[in-house]
Symmetry: C2
Subunit: 232 residues, 2 copies
DNA sequence: GTATCTCCAAATACACTGTATCGCGACAGC
DNA sequence: GCTGTCGCGATACAGTGTATTTGGAGATAC
């Protein structure tokens, strides 16, 4: 039996009141503050003034706790707007914002299928907003948008962390990796990359995300008007 | 203790010759066989008949080893074909194939910026194949394709693992999660998801990947012909 | 040829991890 | 009031990444 439908054990009034919700909240707080590595069963239990083994009454495994954390965040992920394009865009932006609030989400998304109630409800809402698309288009469209969002936010967070590790802001980061890249480019082995760094557009993360997303939405639109190269 | 009863020091085997390449090869082999969790410095060292601390002469940190592993795989990732569309498609498919050979790659891609020589060379080759695109289009195009690929393969591998965990093949997986979904759908809370599962297209992973990729490429093409909604 | 120094591989140590097992103490049923 | 059950906490175990210590072999100096 899976976590989602397995009932909680009966409330024991005796030692310290506990619930899956409280556990997940504590875990999320830890992860928000110090990253996913800070989420250990001992620390979560400690934050709740409880023995570590106590948690196993509520979850079978740490992975289940992580699943619950993801699902908890999905409680706030609902698309807005009318029409498939607005709905998909809103969904993508909302997921991205959630990842900004909970960077650890980038480490979990796509890692395993999410079938919790909030995640299902989110998917259901997206699908419901896509009634102007036939299912044969809607399903791959959602798939593609989800894949894009997962990859985009993952890279975004990865870069953000790298910057943070080596100082404070983008300038510091360039100070750390810049010299290495300079020397590497000096070898002349990567002229195209070099000219991209030198002459290419310098887009911030948000612009990059939005441009890629519009590419995708344009491609879906192309299929609708019969212009796309994607076979039905 | 006197010499007479003191045992001889253990026969010291001549220290095995070592190199970053050998270390990375051993790590990749371990990861291919048993997943990324099987890559511990102790196990890698053990596979090379060497003390664990010896590795720190070649790498400063385990993360560096993982970076080296990624870069090693990128040695075989080069796009083929002519014209931006073929090149981007080929790049995407090649990365996907690499992930199939090395599932652990899905856990690493996007996790942190990759700036190793092979990764740079791969990026250089892609950029070189995109000379029929102006830089202002090429850069976000590559970004978008990379994001899509990272997310898509990540989800693909995540699902594959979930299936493998709970049995052998897709049928077994449906046997494990199916009943849960049945019961959950019975609640009537997710009608759109339910009808998607019941009536929607059942695409395999390869088709899903390719359709989403073509969406993206179509969207990029739309921008070239001035038809896209993406602002320059 | 002998004494000293240097350097590096290995062993040890530490603080953690997830989780299996054990043992105790409190409540339930008779 | 006794016994049985059950859930909690403590303990235990095998493993992790890495800092520190240790010892032995080769190089160097006289």
């Amino acid at each position: 039996m899976l976590v989602w439908e397995r009932p909680e054990p009966p409330e024991r009034p005796a030692p310290a009141p506990l619930s899956r919700e409280a556990i997940v909240r504590a875990a999320v707080r830890l992860a928000d503050a110090d990253g996913l590595d800070a989420v250990s069963l001992r620390k979560v239990a400690g934050a709740l003034d409880v023995g570590p083994m106590r948690l196993y009454g509520y979850i079978d495994t740490k992975e289940e706790l992580l699943d619950l954390m993801v699902d908890a965040v999905y409680a706030g992920i609902r698309p807005e707007g009318d029409g498939w394009r607005e709905v998909l865009r809103s969904h993508a932006e909302t997921v991205r914002r959630a990842v900004h609030r909970h960077e650890w989400l980038a480490d979990l998304l796509g890692g395993r299928p999410q079938l919790g109630p909030n995640t299902l409800a989110s998917g259901n809402a997206v699908l419901t907003g896509l009634t102007d698309l036939d299912l044969d288009t809607a399903v791959p469209a959602i798939s593609a948008v989800n894949a894009y969002v997962i990859g985009a936010v993952r890279r975004e967070v990865g870069e953000r962390r790298a910057e943070r590790t080596s100082g404070l802001d983008r300038r510091q980061w360039q100070a750390a990796y810049g010299p290495y890249l300079e020397r590497t480019f000096a070898s002349g082995r990567f002229p195209a990359v070099e000219s991209m760094v030198r002459d290419g557009p310098h887009l911030d993360a948000g612009e990059t995300f939005r441009i890629g997303l519009e590419f995708l939405l344009d491609g879906i639109a192309a299929r609708l008007s019969g212009g796309g190269s994607t076979p039905r």
